[in-house]
Symmetry: C2
Subunit: 184 residues, 2 copies
DNA sequence: GCTGGCATGTAACAAGTTACATGATTTT
DNA sequence: AAAATCATGTAACTTGTTACATGCCAGC
């Protein structure tokens, strides 16, 4: 009997499934991997990774095997199945749907008329600093994976991040000019 | 006794509270208002707006009054209280915390090595189209509120959106060149 | 010999979404 | 007169987060 492949899984399941294409791994491994790679555009709580793994096994998209360890807590290793690979490809080939983008910063900015001008300036300046820092982090990562052909797709996502934080910084600069220039 | 102002509320509560600064409104009104204004950076389900309203009342940050209507279903109107205004200001003045940004598109791109080159190109091209459309929508809105001083902060958020979709489009162009240029 | 971090996970809770409910009014 | 839309909201469910649990090992 085929597995319950018809169930509609959320993107988070596929994020975990995708990480499993890099090889057999424990929940803990994936938590670490996610922190190092997906972090910028998909940052789940670790408990979520564990529950996605259980769901993938239930759906027949991954297998689980228990490994006893003497020095450490026992662990469970997960491996993607052929059905899992097919499901992943199908998902990859579907058009992403409109992404609602959520920003506490923009929310505060939108209600900026309730703030003093100083506070509003501080808000934008803080955002500029944060963006600048993020930019530097991404550039460091970029330098590390530079030229390595294994990271072709990853590099694209990295450049996406860089482009966005750069846009952020220059938007901040313009906004600051506007806010300082406009009659108070 | 003062109200339970110590409870830590989520940003969504403040989004609703912020909208109440525009005047007394029903849940329905706020749903519509959110669709027209916050939509780009904060897009809650309508049922969430209703539950935030209940929470605001419970916390003493808004008041509720029932209005009977003959032709339509009865409604409840909400109004921000002085405590609500204070709470809003306090929240506005706190530094936004690091925003985890979530993107189905980037997730798929990151696993791009599992896709054929054609699919990968289609993914990026689709993203370019979507960004271009969003850009046009925002520009239309921009033309409508142009120069109106009531929308000073709103205009800044709009320009933020425009900057980002423009960055999107040019990133897509670069990525497409890379993908087409690189050896298959 | 205590403290903090690694390695591995679960349980309890909060946030957010989709589907449902209801009756009038306008459109086809 | 049937279908769609407006106006108003609730219930049931899914997703995602924070807090908790456990034992080893390394550094102070």
């Amino acid at each position: 009997m085929g597995s319950a492949e018809t169930e509609r899984l959320p993107n988070s399941s596929f994020a975990v499934l995708g990480m499993l294409t890099f090889g057999e791994a424990s929940g803990y491994d994936l938590v670490k991997l996610a922190e190092r790679s997906l972090e910028f555009f998909w940052a789940p709580a670790k408990s979520q990774i564990y529950s996605e793994l259980r769901r993938l096994v239930a759906a027949g998209l991954a297998t689980e095997r228990e490994v006893e360890q003497a020095d450490r807590p026992d662990k469970r290793l997960y491996r993607i199945t052929p059905a899992g690979e097919r499901a992943l490809r199908r998902w990859l080939e579907e058009r992403p749907e409109h992404e609602p983008f959520k920003s506490e910063f923009l929310l505060k900015l939108f209600f900026g008329h309730q703030m003093s001008r100083e506070r509003l300036l501080a808000l934008v300046e803080g955002h500029r600093r944060d963006s600048q820092e993020a930019l530097e982090r991404l550039r460091e990562i970029g330098a590390q994976i530079d030229g390595d052909p294994r990271f072709r797709s990853a590099r694209l996502t990295l450049e996406y991040g860089i482009a966005h934080f750069r846009a952020n910084v220059s938007w901040c600069d313009r906004a600051l000019r506007t806010l300082k220039g406009g009659e108070g």
